[in-house]
Symmetry: C2
Subunit: 343 residues, 2 copies
């Protein structure tokens, strides 16, 4: 460990940064407010209804590549990633604020398409754009979205509610978005893409926020902790066990992966388990569920959505321990999640 | 005018951008919501209380110079400019979300100081930091703040409420922040700065959001339109007359300027009227007031704050017309306000 006075942000890492700077802010919060540490903050609203608040900052070159992604997909995705945070708490989205830093030479047709993509998803999810801020950028495009939503007090799900023994489940396949990203970074051209590749790209560019699933799951008594899969379950489960003071085992052979991700992984030599466990941006939901109620809940879920709820592991009492099992045997995964500040 | 298909953002300008893209979003708003076009958006909250929502995006090189401003001042100012939007509606601030894009090599002590500056102002104004987002930047630092506040329905003041004949007034001296900016851009060193220069720099780096003044003014029946002076009265009054369908005359000899701005303007050859009228970031308030009640109100204001409310002009019925008068005679100002996208 470096001396305090020479510390850089990259030494702290994202987790260390949040730990260092959140304490003093959390200490001063009134008891009716839930601050830093979950997908959304929660503040009092109308009676038993609470206001959910979340924000995401997206930067060209870090979160997307402006030269690769279409304007329409970018407009869609900027809203989608925030909706996913509302879904993760069991809420319904209401209002958005959009901040944009744009180059003065930006093509107005590009902006038309950006707003088309945004508007299509906003209509579907009943989100009102209330305003925002626009400014020029000297360099890279910047997008910040702040989103407000609502949820009933008794049906908000937090990261901190996991209990030893809980079954961990996800609401969709894992790794598709990472597969799409790998294709983009490999520089393949449009003409070289088969139908499997196109499906992966679509998952990366147009992730569907699991709002109906989140709302449904938050209203099931068996569901304890919930969050969305934004940085990959490897990172995201760490957040759950940290907040819930427990441990986790993940059953690698159970991770749901799409047929097209499997085929592309074989074709391009990707390590499928790592792609599924450490790949980010799938934006499905990650839940922990009372083991005594899991089968009943999975059945109700299947009936409601005509898709399965996928069990992928178990919460343990082994505080802070994160184990991957492959057919019951512990294995090591190479990649250990994404940290914004580690270089 | 260029053909539609070749239009760039710089052709539209900031006003054109907002006009082009806000229409479809405003059309779909439910009647109880006030969206794009004012300092804050206004949405239903608890009974007669409304929730105010605002956001500001600040980028190194555009809104501040990271190498010049101290970390503490930057933390302070990031919050202050958003508080000023709440002040402009007559509200009280409640909750903030902070998004930061930082270089991994950022010094942790720099961050400590940034949060010290933020925290000092947040405590004074009773703002709770609820959370946010942190990410790395490849290039310039980015700060986005989203701020929530509250106001009583009947005591919210909008830009659209000005009426012909209204006296226009400001709550503080104009141009100090622009003076500070001019000193910074001139490259003067710390050792070359006299006490007048230091006062200007302080106005630029640590603007005081006029929250008590905004709350007081919003509760006076004589006050009609209100906003904050963020881009300079030249730009900001245009917004008021556009939203209120009227015109404006500004009495240049009445613009309140500080003694230290006057002295520096003489010393460095700055055009004082232009600095006061077109300089941004003073973050005092701009109000229009029923002419029949102005003197009574100005007296109450003086008693309350022990500082004057400065009359600087008059709202006219001459829709869209913006006239500067110097001792009663029309004059032209060189600079015509700041537009983020004009190059």
């Amino acid at each position: 460990m470096k001396k305090e006075k020479n510390l850089k942000l990259s030494d702290l890492g994202e987790f260390g940064f949040i730990a260092r700077f959140s304490t003093s802010f959390l200490r001063n919060l009134p008891p009716e407010v839930v601050g830093i540490g979950d997908d959304c903050a929660v503040v009092p609203w109308k009676g038993k209804k609470k206001l959910l608040v979340t924000t995401d900052l997206l930067i060209d070159g870090v979160h997307f590549l402006k030269e690769k992604i279409s304007a329409e997909d970018l407009g869609y995705k900027s809203l989608a990633v925030n909706l996913s945070d509302i879904a993760a708490m069991g809420g319904r989205p209401l209002y958005a604020l959009l901040s944009l830093a744009l180059a003065p030479e930006t093509d107005v047709r590009w902006l038309d398409q950006f707003f088309n993509g945004w508007r299509a998803l906003a209509r579907k999810t009943k989100v009102q754009l209330l305003g925002g801020d626009t400014t020029k950028t000297l360099n890279k495009m910047v997008i910040n979205v702040a989103l407000l939503g609502e949820a009933e007090e008794n049906f908000i799900r937090y990261r901190s509610a996991a209990e030893p023994g809980d079954i961990i489940a996800v609401t969709g396949p894992l790794g598709n978005s990472e597969g799409g990203l790998r294709l983009i970074l490999s520089g393949l051209r449009e003409s070289q893409l088969g139908s499997d590749e196109k499906k992966l790209l679509k998952c990366h560019y147009r992730p569907r926020p699991h709002l109906p699933e989140g709302y449904f799951l938050a209203h099931q008594l068996e569901v304890r902790a919930m969050m969305d899969v934004s940085d990959g379950i490897d990172s995201d489960l760490k957040r759950i066990i940290e907040r819930s003071n427990c441990g986790v085992e993940v059953w690698l052979e159970k991770l749901p992966v799409s047929s097209f991700l499997k085929k592309c992984s074989q074709k391009y030599g990707w390590p499928l388990n790592e792609v599924a466990a450490a790949g980010g941006e799938d934006y499905c939901l990650l839940v922990t569920i009372d083991p005594n109620g899991f089968s009943r809940l999975a059945l109700r879920y299947q009936r409601q959505f005509r898709r399965p709820l996928y069990p992928i592991g178990r919460i343990t009492s082994d505080r802070g321990h994160f184990i991957y099992l492959l057919n019951g045997r512990p294995v090591a995964l190479k990649k250990s999640g994404y940290d914004h500040f580690k270089t």
